[in-house]
């Protein structure tokens, strides 16, 4: 139901309503439509860095997490072409890091892996890079594997201690671009804050120590249902 002040737009032919200034991605979710995302987290300033949420508006590809809805906008989302583009991005992310799913604590709860399942990636079409960007294991609570990082900046934007960012970009301008964990700040994190750091990471780059593989295979987040299923089920709700 449209509320006063809401604007009307369309996703794949379905009429949707949004608040002025709301991003296409957030508005789509309010309307029960799933647009895949990796770098976006609700409540954080959008970064538009992963490009998974690419949609087509006026014949152009834009990232749904950064673009605001406008009145009468017509958005293409769940099309073969866009889904193929998204699958290609997933494949590139898989080969540009060391994503050893069988040996990763995040497996089953990993958003990158879940998207690969959703788009039925049997194997990436590109050669593996096997980067060696190092592992930071000196922090008391956190383990930071830079080779699993997809540079989405969710931790950079979301994890702070006393107002200071715990994670930051380093080695800009070359192949060595990575995220650095501030050891001093990381050492001050509480148990809950360390858990929040692990949870904000869509992949297994930030792992809380001494608690891997707690949930058995079959009971993890994306074992039985594809990513975005919760949203599709809530389609009937009135926003």
């Amino acid at each position: 139901m449209k509320k006063a002040e809401q604007i009307t737009f369309e996703i794949d032919g379905q009429t949707c309503y949004a608040w002025p200034g709301q991003s296409i991605l957030d508005a789509a979710r309010d309307n029960g439509i799933y647009i895949p995302s990796l770098c976006h987290v609700e409540g954080l300033k959008p970064a538009g860095s992963c490009r998974i949420c690419n949609v087509k508006v006026n014949g152009r590809n834009i990232t749904a997490c950064t673009a605001p809805v406008s009145e009468g906008m017509i958005v293409e989302n769940d099309t073969t072409k866009l889904n193929e583009l998204r699958k290609t991005i997933i494949e590139v992310l898989f080969v540009s890091g060391n994503h050893f799913c069988p040996a990763c604590e995040k497996s089953g709860n990993c958003e990158l892996q879940a998207l690969a399942y959703k788009y039925q990636m049997m194997a990436p079409r590109f050669p593996y890079e096997f980067p060696d960007k190092g592992v930071e294991a000196r922090s008391p609570l956190l383990f930071h594997d830079r080779n699993r990082c997809i540079l989405c900046k969710r931790c950079v934007r979301g994890i702070r201690k006393d107002g200071k960012a715990v994670f930051a970009y380093s080695g800009r301008g070359g192949e060595n671009l990575h995220i650095e964990m501030d050891l001093e700040l990381a050492a001050q994190l509480s148990d809950e804050e360390a858990q929040a750091a692990m949870d904000i990471c869509p992949v297994g780059a930030i792992i809380k120590k001494e608690q891997g593989y707690q949930t058995p295979i079959g009971a993890r987040k994306y074992d039985q249902v594809p990513i975005g299923s919760d949203l599709i089920k809530s389609e009937e709700q009135d926003f």
């Binding site: 898989f94 060391n98 994503h99 050893f100 799913c101 069988p102 040996a103 990763c104 497996s107 089953g108 892996q113 690969a116 399942y117 039925q120 990636m121 049997m122 194997a123 990436p124 050669p127 593996y128 096997f130 060696d132 080779n147 295979i217 074992d223 039985q224 249902v225 594809p226």
Partner: protein, 182 residues
């Protein structure tokens, strides 16, 4: 029409994918109606005695012997399938890809905490032993691979569905539960 001929091998793998083939349970009886096995650990035929239709490859390439066998499979099989994460991306053996061979060998034979008495500091160096490669390679970076079945191991249903679809020509069924990377 004669039955299609199937060959299988395990390169740098753990035989888990072959275990998963056996995990099709009683359908193994249907499988031997559908295909004839040639070179495979399942029937213990060691060398190719016929040209094969389908080759299943478990494991990636970590040494010169793996490369040789993989190339032999490519030569004798019309269709090659990478089965499992190791064949597709190197898998657990590829965890050594960021470490030099020298360091790996020294850790395994000289410095590692589980190394027993090796006072003579002997490293395996026999002509009979295959040479280790600089890193572990996915099979499709060595030869052309036609299809991929991911998983660690691939679910028995995925292997079964894929083989049946390939042999009968029916469309491959891929329910969400069968594509998993662990």
């Amino acid at each position: 029409m004669s039955k299609p001929i199937l060959a299988t091998t395990s390169l740098a793998g753990c035989f888990g994918c072959h275990m998963s083939i056996l995990d099709i349970d009683e359908r193994i009886l249907e499988l031997i109606e559908l295909v004839e096995f040639n070179k495979s650990p399942i029937d213990d035929i060691k060398t190719f005695t016929k040209e094969c239709d389908i080759g299943l490859i478990e494991g990636g390439c970590c040494n010169s012997e793996n490369i040789e066998i993989l190339k032999e499979f490519r030569k004798h099989c019309k269709i090659l399938i990478s089965v499992g994460e190791c064949a597709i991306m190197g898998g657990l053996p590829a965890l050594r890809n960021g470490i030099s061979i020298k360091e790996c060998l020294e850790e395994a034979y000289l410095n590692g905490p589980t190394v027993g008495e090796n006072t003579a500091k002997v490293m395996p160096n026999d002509d009979e032993l295959p040479m280790l490669l600089d890193k572990v390679y996915p099979c499709h970076e060595i030869v052309k691979i036609d299809y991929y079945l991911p998983g660690c191991p691939p679910r028995a249903d995925l292997i079964w569905n894929a083989l049946v679809a390939l042999i009968t020509g029916d469309e491959l069924q891929l329910p969400y539960e069968v594509i998993k990377f662990d």
